[in-house]
């Protein structure tokens, strides 16, 4: 057996801890370094956690994700000038998926992908905006955004360390959180469309609740003050356990998002990626807008990509892993695997890859070089998994 059996060395104390870190460690979480955070990769079984999320509900501590507020009279207009996605027209309670790009010497520099939101307006009517960004990119994104702040009128605050975020994902997620909310809050949570959010009292604590997630399931993400994190987590978990729900680690989050065909920064999506070739055109609104990197993105949109993102169905138990070469008809390398795993809902291995567009048509058979083996795989459409109809309303237009 090789290194994966040997447990990690004692945890360095320099890792950041979410407000739930001690809870995870005390409840059997296998803690690993994820982007500098001490996070649970799993409690017992990734497969069990994955399937519980698909069939019932899974709780995920996603407090390591960066949470920023952007406020002040110029907040909305400034974000409109900074993000690839149109922010103008966003209404209170609405979320949009966007990229954060820099203007830079390279053709394009994608610093991160993010959710931008407009929270409830301030009492004086000025918009209050939010951004959720990836843990591993937080510091550079915050530094970049700060470097572009206007002298007055916009305030950017990083709330990552004074809040916690709990993803409650799965067909029972919305009902569970709504059931822990008092009065009209529960009704409002149940009525949320996808990519919509509201403030609510959850298990007696002030929270922001949004119908968002990263698993391909219906569900919500609940943001609370750091001091309330354990109480809210335990209340949600207590409601989830009798329904077959469970606490889940980042391992299941990764297999869930893979099945849902969602790109992950640092894997599918990188600084020099072509978002159009990744199927992320919806995150880039070029028309009538200016933002950093717009020119480079316009060139990419007009051009022909060298590599496009595809889904691969291996039909095997053996998994392809990131970095495995994808081979075409004559055995030449035509691309590379960006994410791959056994897919618990599907029952065999799937992968995402970036390949030569000539090999991207559904049904094309390719080979993947996995260590010493060659594994056949068939190009399939993304996502690999679509949740059954029902649950969340479709995303609002715009």
């Amino acid at each position: 057996m090789s290194d994966s059996v040997t447990p990690p060395l004692p945890r360095p104390t320099s890792l950041r801890e979410t407000p739930l870190c001690q809870w995870h460690a005390a409840h059997g979480g296998r803690m690993v370094d994820f982007a500098g955070w001490n996070m649970p990769v799993q409690y017992a079984s990734i497969v069990d956690e994955h399937l519980a999320t698909r069939s019932s509900v899974g709780l995920f501590d996603v407090s390591h994700m960066g949470r920023l507020s952007v406020t002040g009279p110029g907040a909305l207009d400034w974000l409109e000038s900074m993000l690839t996605r149109k922010v103008a027209g966003i209404v209170p309670g609405q979320f949009r998926y966007t990229l954060v790009t820099a203007d830079a010497p390279a053709p394009v520099v994608i610093l991160d992908d993010a959710l931008v939101s407009r929270d409830s307006d301030a009492a004086d009517g000025t918009p209050r905006m939010g951004l959720v960004i990836n843990a591993g990119n937080r510091e550079r994104v915050v530094a970049w955004l700060r470097s572009r702040l206007p002298a007055t009128g916009v305030e950017l605050v990083d709330h990552t360390l004074d809040t916690a975020m709990i993803a409650v994902q799965g067909p029972k997620g919305v009902d569970i959180v709504a059931g822990l909310s008092s009065g009209g809050d529960g009704t409002r949570i149940r009525a949320l469309g996808n990519y919509r959010g509201t403030t609510a009292t959850v298990a007696g604590h002030a929270a922001a609740v949004s119908r968002t997630g990263y698993t391909g399931e219906d569900g919500v993400e609940v943001t609370v003050a750091a001091a309330d994190a354990v109480a809210v987590w335990e209340a949600i978990l207590a409601a989830a356990l009798p329904l077959g729900g469970r606490a889940c680690g980042l391992g299941a989050r990764d297999t869930l998002r893979l099945e849902a065909g969602m790109p992950l920064y640092g894997h599918e999506l990188r600084a020099d990626s072509d978002p159009f070739a990744l199927g992320l055109a919806l995150a880039v609104n070029l028309e009538g807008r200016t933002f950093p990197g717009r020119g480079a993105l316009a060139v990419l949109k007009a051009g022909q990509p060298e590599r496009v993102r595809i889904g691969l169905d291996l039909g095997s138990k053996r998994s392809a892993r990131e970095g495995n070469p994808v081979l075409g008809g004559a055995g030449g390398e035509i691309g590379v695997v960006t994410s791959g795993s056994f897919a618990p809902t599907i029952g065999h291995a799937v992968a995402m890859a970036l390949v030569d567009p000539a090999f991207a048509s559904e049904g094309t058979v390719v080979e993947i070089a996995i260590r010493d083996a060659r594994q056949q795989a068939r190009v399939v459409g993304l996502p690999f998994y679509c949740r059954p109809p029902g649950g969340g309303k479709p995303p609002a237009a715009g």
């Binding site: 057996m1 090789s2 290194d3 994966s4 059996v5 040997t6 447990p7 990690p8 060395l9 004692p10 990769v41 799993q42 017992a44 079984s45 990734i46 497969v47 391992g251 297999t255 095997s316 138990k317 053996r318 998994s319 892993r321 795993s341 056994f342 618990p344 291995a349 260590r371 083996a373």
Partner: protein
């Protein structure tokens, strides 16, 4: 017999030689540490292997691990039903979850491996 099993630091176990052949598997600790096993590749019967050489793969949802030959010798049998019943590894790692049988070149190589107490001390020193 089970109390006479020896262990490699890489978490394989090997039985005493009986009829010139020793049985090899992986420890309960290794199965527990890996979790979510989904795939196993076995070596070919008849293959000559050296101690420490990779003779197969065990893959979990998260990662793939090599299975190493604890001693040098010839693979004389493999548990061909195991790859389709990987749960057996968790249920009975030292029995029905055996992986290969090997004819050691030098049975004394087995004695040089960790006895149960030494192996338990090894895994006890590793954090869970």
């Amino acid at each position: 017999m089970l109390k006479d099993v020896r262990f490699a630091k890489s978490h394989e176990w090997i039985s005493p030689v009986a009829g010139g052949v020793a049985t090899v598997g992986i420890s309960a600790y290794a199965v527990e540490a890996l979790t979510d096993l989904v795939f196993m590749q076995l070596p070919a019967v008849g293959r000559k292997v050296k101690a420490g050489e990779s003779i197969g793969e065990i893959e979990s949802v998260k990662a793939v691990s090599d299975l190493y030959a604890p001693v040098s010798g010839e693979i004389v049998e493999v548990n061909s039903t195991l790859p389709d019943h990987l749960e057996t590894l968790g249920q009975d790692p030292l029995g029905a979850g055996w992986i290969v049988k090997i004819r050691p070149d030098d049975p004394a190589e087995i004695d040089a491996l960790l006895d149960r107490a030494a192996y338990e001390a090894l895994i006890g020193s590793q954090p869970h």
